[in-house]
């Protein structure tokens, strides 16, 4: 089914456009990387604050609030440019394990970040200036930073990995 989908999407005019011009794919990838920079900067600063490394004199709420809209916009741009990359080169990502590992990690990172923010905002005493949240939250913050690094590595590795056995790559 995945192979039929890849074969179909590879025959669309959009696929021909993305794959046909020399400048389109690097432009899409550049946009993808810039959106990663926006998302990862927000995540890094928020998690470092939760860990108590930076911004200790400030409460967590306003810091998180500053990054909500840019992060949401970045996720939308990442999804769109990611889809365009798949449309342009369907065989490159869909049949490589590392692509699906990346998707699972992205889903996990977004869900855990949302749950974490919800848990923190429910208890204002944990997010005040000069306070570090409980150990569970600091542990999650550290884990999320590791997951973001893993997501970037997995993303770069899509370009180097081989397709799984029997795939049309």
């Amino acid at each position: 089914m995945l192979e039929a989908f890849a074969a179909w999407i590879g025959k669309t005019p959009l696929s021909a456009f993305v794959a046909g011009q020399d400048w389109v794919m690097p432009a899409i990838q550049t946009t993808h990387i810039l959106a990663i920079a926006v998302l990862v900067a927000g995540a890094l600063l928020l998690q470092l604050r939760v860990l108590g490394v930076i911004e200790k004199r400030h409460p967590i709420g306003p810091l998180a609030a500053r990054f909500v809209k840019p992060s949401a916009a970045a996720i939308a741009v990442l999804a769109l440019t990611g889809l365009l990359m798949i449309v342009g080169e369907p065989d490159r990502a869909l049949f490589r394990y590392v692509f699906w590992v990346k998707m699972a990690l992205v889903a996990a990172a977004i869900v855990v970040s949302a749950l974490m923010l919800r848990g923190l905002s429910a208890t204002p005493a944990w997010t005040d200036a000069g306070v570090a949240p409980p150990l569970l939250y600091r542990g999650l913050a550290g884990a999320l930073l590791v997951v973001w690094v893993a997501i970037i590595i997995a993303g770069r590795w899509i370009g180097y990995a081989e397709g799984w056995p029997g795939s049309p790559t």
């Binding site: 920079a37 990862v40 890094l44 470092l48 930076i54 370009g159």
Partner: protein, 165 residues
Amino acid sequence: MSMIGGAIDWLQATPLSTTIRESDLLFPTIECVHVIAFVVVVGTISVVDLRLMGLASKTRPADELIEELLPITWIAFAVAAAAGLLLFCSKPITYTQNFFFLGKMLLLVLAAANMGVFHLVVQKSLATAPIGPPPLTARASGAISLALWITIVAFGRWIGFTTLG
């Protein structure tokens, strides 16, 4: 020029260059480190740039934001530069003949110059306007920096597409 050419030829023949070039794993691994580090560089710089332009983090004084973020930016930049140097070492002859590589190096020099002007001249004017609409010079510094870093990322990505094989 021939002295530089000689140095480039010498570098390409070093065991370090050969090892990275001939390994299937080293180049992509170093590339991952480079990407992780420069994403942090560009991300943290853009937070400051957008604040200088008066477009984001408006409730925070720019000076304070810079003080908090600049150490992270510098650490990440050191890692990105070291990893970038190793990537360069793998194929110095190819890279020194590549338009986007040379352009990226020039843009990095311009970004450094913009940053120097900001710290030496513009930043002083911020002290009188800690919160609120930033002075025109600060907005210009931020806009120039943001435009340069976006172009640097684009040139970097284009290097990969124009040095294949």
